[in-house]
């Protein structure tokens, strides 16, 4: 019953391919994701793509709404879109390369674990990327912490870059902390504060994928961005609420 074929994994946990690498660059926008797939030192896989025996795929999966959808591409760039009305909660992306017809691999590039030729039927993974979970911008950018030194009702925001991407730690008084997961006004206030700091960061925002994502979404919404001499036009409140809105309480006559 079990099947086993060489598979090139992005996290490099597979020993099947000796010197090859599979890398993905994922950019999430408002209702879409674009994956750029890169193969290094995997000539066999590359030639399969070129002759149409393999194609790039991207699976979108939202367990809460029981949704799973696949997009395909013959080029390394694969884009998938979704309608906001079909997802709720976490959305997962799995990129990779699959066979579109039965193929045979030689030993070129494979580790000594494999004895060529290796026949692989159609519909099998040849390369698979890390599963990525999409989160809301606020969830990606902010982490809340309680700070004893703060007086009741106080908040402070500090940026960190130690995790590889830009992130903000939001410190609130101990009395406020339990309310953070459910009070959207606190979340938006923190996001505005974080956006206020962005133009003053010393780091080059090209280094941080999240800043590129934010700029992309703001430009889509025609909201002024920071940098390129435009810092005076950039309004952190406008920018933050363009991406994550405050709640609106129902008023008479509003439908729910």
């Amino acid at each position: 019953m079990s099947e086993s074929y060489p598979i090139l994994l992005e996290d490099r946990s597979s020993l099947d391919w000796e010197a090859s690498r599979y890398l993905t660059d994922l950019r999430v926008g408002n209702g879409y994701v674009t994956v750029t797939n890169t193969l290094e030192g995997a000539e066999q896989l590359q030639s399969l793509i070129e002759r149409g025996a393999a194609k790039w795929v991207l699976e979108l999966r939202c367990p809460t709404t029981l949704m799973s959808r696949w997009e395909h591409s013959e080029t390394p760039v694969c884009t998938a879109k979704w309608d906001a009305e079909e997802i709720q909660g976490e959305l997962y992306f799995t990129p990779g390369l699959i066979t579109t017809e039965p193929i045979s691999l030689t030993s070129k590039g494979l580790s000594n674990l494999w004895t060529a030729p290796i026949g692989i039927p159609s519909g099998r993974w040849l390369a698979r990327g890390d599963v990525t979970r999409a989160k809301s911008l606020a969830a990606s950018l902010l982490t809340f912490h309680a700070k004893r030194e703060l007086s009741e009702g106080e908040m402070e925001v500090q940026h960190v870059t130690s995790g590889g991407d830009l992130h903000f730690n939001v410190y609130v008084s101990e009395q406020l902390f339990p309310q953070c997961p459910v009070r959207r006004d606190l979340q938006i206030a923190a996001l505005i504060a974080a956006f206020g700091k962005i133009p003053h960061l010393d780091e080059d925002d090209a280094e941080y994928g999240i800043l590129a994502s934010i700029k992309g979404r703001l430009r889509e919404s025609n909201v002024p961005v920071w940098g390129d001499g435009q810092n005076e036009e950039f309004d952190p409140a406008r920018a933050a609420t363009a991406i994550e809105q405050f709640l609106v309480d129902p008023v008479n006559g509003n439908r729910l």
Partner: protein, 334 residues
């Protein structure tokens, strides 16, 4: 129809948490709120709808954008909708409701407010919403029945609650998934959306397997063709008078999930996928039969050891001997 105000949703969450705790201990504040709820229900549809509006901060002028029921529903049919009713609901609402809103218990509760105000659930709402299997004699149990039925009880039963606990919501979701499976496997599975819906409805375990596992553990089951092939197994088993037991299907799904490490289920040929599923079911049955044999053997040996112990024991000596015998047994009791 597909908008839900998040302030109302927060109030809904607070209201539910005030009525049902995660644990078995019921604080007096919760018990008081449960009593208030039961009084409201006992006063009839309009009074209960007014109670719900009040709890969610909705004045009587706030119109609720939710579909109406296509027919009046009596209590037994509400609690356990027959297939024809499920199909009627699903087809009446085709294209009206989107998955995002349908995955939120607050939406279905708001819909219930509308149905109560329009008299679509009749006047026996205590029977409809509170009554359960007969063993639920406490106010807490009946409260939970009501909350599950209105739209699910997510803080206690998780995200799957809206899919499986609320009869009306479940009916919609089964129809929705049946349509998706029918489209995805149109060239391969000779079953219409109605036939698939019937399979999901008739096999009590089928829906629990497909949604429970796909939300929590075996997310590869979200793929339409994975679902299609499991439906085929259920349908084939029924036809062959060889029903698939819940444990068998759960293990089959796990085996298929393990296979998805190498194969992309959505992209292999249908005949191959169907054969793999049959093979997985066979393997699941073998594994379960083997486990069952081992358990029977263990019970037999434990029983034999107990008989020997009781034949040779002295008065007052039972506990010491039992512990010695337990340590000699090759199998441990669970």
């Amino acid at each position: 129809m597909n908008q839900l105000n998040t302030v109302v949703e927060q109030r809904f969450s607070d209201w539910q948490r005030g009525l049902a705790t995660k644990g078995r201990t019921i604080p007096s504040s919760v018990a008081d709120k449960q009593k208030e709820l039961h009084i409201a229900v006992s006063q009839g549809s309009i009074a209960f709808a007014a109670y719900l509006r009040n709890q969610l901060g909705l004045t009587k002028d706030h119109s609720i954008d939710a579909p109406i029921l296509p027919c009046l529903i009596n209590p037994p049919d509400y609690r356990d909708p027959p297939f024809t009713l499920e199909r009627t609901l699903s087809q009446s609402w085709d294209g009206l409701i989107r998955r995002r809103i349908a995955s939120r218990p607050a939406f279905w509760t708001l819909a219930h407010i509308r149905w109560l105000e329009e008299g679509q659930l009749g006047e026996q709402i205590e029977e409809t919403l509170l009554r359960g299997s007969g063993r639920d004699s406490t106010e807490d149990q009946r409260t939970r029945n009501l909350l599950r039925r209105l739209g699910g009880l997510p803080h206690v039963r998780g995200k799957v609650s809206v899919l499986s606990d609320s009869p009306i919501s479940r009916a919609w979701w089964r129809g929705e998934v049946a349509s998706e499976i029918a489209k995805a496997a149109a060239d391969d599975l000779p079953l219409s959306a109605t036939d698939i819906h019937r399979v999901l409805h008739s096999h009590n375990d089928a829906w629990a397997r497909l949604v429970g596992d796909s939300v929590h553990r075996i997310t590869v089951l979200n793929q339409p063709r994975a679902r299609a092939v499991l439906v085929k197994l259920y349908e084939g088993a029924t036809r062959d008078c060889d029903p698939v037991r819940p444990q068998e299907m759960q293990l089959t799904a796990r085996i298929l999930s393990r296979r998805s490490v190498a194969l992309a289920i959505e992209h292999i040929k249908w005949d191959e996928l169907a054969a793999l599923a049959e093979e997985a079911l066979e393997l699941a049955r073998e594994e379960l039969a083997l486990e069952s044999q081992k358990r029977a053997q263990a019970r037999k040996e434990n029983s034999h050891a107990d008989r020997i112990q009781s034949d040779t024991s002295q008065p007052g000596d039972t506990d010491r001997r039992k512990s010695r015998w337990t340590s000699l047994l090759p199998f441990s009791r669970s």
